[in-house]
Amino acid sequence: MNIANVKQKSLKQRKIKDNFMVGLLYLSTLIVITPLIIIISYVIYNGINALNWDFFVHELGSPTRAMQGRPTGLVHTILGTAVVDTLALLIALPVGVGSGILLSEYPDNKLNPALRIINDTLNGMPAILKGLLAFALIVKPMGTFSGLAGGVALAFVMIPIIARATESALMNIPWSIREAGLAIGLPRWRVIMSTVIPAAKTGLVTGFLIAFARAVGEAAPLMFTSFGNNYLPKHWTGMIFGPVDTLPQRLYSLAISPYKEWHAMGWAAGIILLVFVITLFIFARVLTAEKKYES
């Protein structure tokens, strides 16, 4: 047998195998993308008609409003979502980033193994339980549902994701950067704040956005914390200290309502939520892409 023939044959086989594997990869990508496209187009198809000017400037009110064709919308829901999600981010960022720094920068810390387990457990815990926790911590003592309670519940969703993202973003920064900082006589906290964190900025922001996008879509933890509200509170502080509407939870309650006008508004709320979440993820992608370009 000629050695050249053997080589030729195996090369052909390899090419076929290679193409087959690449084909499988394309197929799995398609399987992942298809449901997403179906969901997005179905939501848009059902909700686009309810998306009009009124939708963005009026509050929902009672079901009769919609049934009598009076102007109705979800302005209070959109504003409420902004308030609750911002509160959640404000609570989750310091806690999540703090524990992420502890995990990455102080690997010898005795608390770290416990912290990791707690973090992973919290990450895997059903979101509704986080709602219950916030109910016990905030709603019960305050005696009322509130945007604050909703923010705390969503913070529990964000914290483990932010902590993990912070840890891995900081771990990606070469150890030599820290040593270089120490070698010019900087205290350790200063090295972390001024050299490690700025270097990891892109990774950190991406992680925050992913955590935020994840929490923005959660309805379960908000059911008995921020509760929901058909009206805009008289004063904006009512959104923090009183029951407040949020998109995912409003979407749910519109969907289970018996009014077909409200069903359409639910689909429209879905569009807003999808656009928001997709925008966040695209933003996160762009940031990561920039990082690759730099290096």
């Binding site: 010898d108 070469p174 070698a183």
Partner: protein, 279 residues
């Protein structure tokens, strides 16, 4: 193997027989003194019972085959092992007579006196050239612009980099070439005006031209600083250093004037290493 000539026997210095105060090799005073220094990684020895003086206004080269403990020893001199809990250190490192491992001593203060340049250039990636150089001052609260400008220019000039970067001080430190980045790292170490500079194979990743510039720089710096340099490049050790320390398997084998150590080594292992028989 030739027998070591009788007249060179005097420079054979065993660990325990070095007369620190009256070191025969150098006239300047002793700046750093390692005393029975032992460094362990877990249970493995990195450095075994090393005692050696480092003189002021002098270049001391640390030579020896890979894994002999040169870098481990060097990093010990400004407490760079502190972050690694697996490293245990016994013995003393005296800086002007004071033990830097004393519990009262703040490692930050030690590192401001004993600067370090690493094997690979390590510019802070998000900072400009200017900010990189003055990082050691700016980040501890020195805000005086004219002072910072002055320090920046002086350090960059000392590091033979100023002319190449003076028009783009605000561009990122990472935009420089490898050789320039290494000189930037040196400038950054000089900016805080340390008294001792430790260099861990500072030219190993550089081209001959940049290497030459850094060697020239070492000559310049030695007028004011005391320098310890780890190098695998024996001709370089011979060119730049006044004293040399030869280490092997964590032990100090020989210490003495570079010229003597290279021309008439007292220990067989030193001779074999220098002549390229192992290592």
């Amino acid at each position: 193997m030739e027998k070591i000539p009788e007249k060179n026997k005097e420079i054979i210095i065993k660990n325990d027989s070095i007369d620190m105060a009256n070191c025969p090799t150098c006239s300047t005073k002793v700046r750093i003194e390692a005393k029975n220094l032992t460094i362990k990684y877990g249970k493995e020895f990195g450095v075994k019972n090393v005692s050696v003086p480092i003189h002021d206004k002098n270049v001391t080269a640390l030579i020896g085959p890979s894994g002999c403990g040169k870098t481990t020893f060097l990093r010990c001199l400004n407490r760079m092992h502190d972050l690694n809990k697996k490293v245990s250190i016994s013995g003393q490192v005296l800086l002007d007579g004071q033990d830097i491992y004393d519990s009262k001593v703040n490692p930050v203060n030690i590192r401001r006196k004993i600067g370090m340049v690493f094997q690979k250039p390590t510019p802070f990636p998000t900072m400009s050239i200017y900010d990189n150089v003055v990082a050691g001052l700016k980040l501890v609260g020195i805000r005086n612009k004219s002072l910072l400008n002055e320090v920046c220019e002086k350090a960059l000039t000392q590091a033979a980099l100023f002319d190449e970067v003076k028009d783009r001080l605000k561009s990122p430190g990472g935009s420089l070439s490898g050789g320039q980045q290494q000189r930037l790292s040196i400038a950054r170490a000089l900016a805080i005006e340390p008294e001792v500079i430790l260099m861990d194979e500072p030219t190993s990743s550089l081209d001959p031209k940049s290497t030459l510039k850094i060697e020239d720089l070492i000559f310049e710096l030695k007028k004011n600083y005391s320098i310890v340099i780890v190098t695998h490049n024996l001709p370089q050790a011979a060119r730049v250093s006044d004293c040399s320390i030869f280490m092997y398997l964590g032990e100090l084998i020989e210490y003495g004037k570079t010229e003597k150590l290279f021309k008439n080594p007292s220990d067989k292992r030193t001779e074999e290493y220098i002549t390229g028989k192992f290592g």
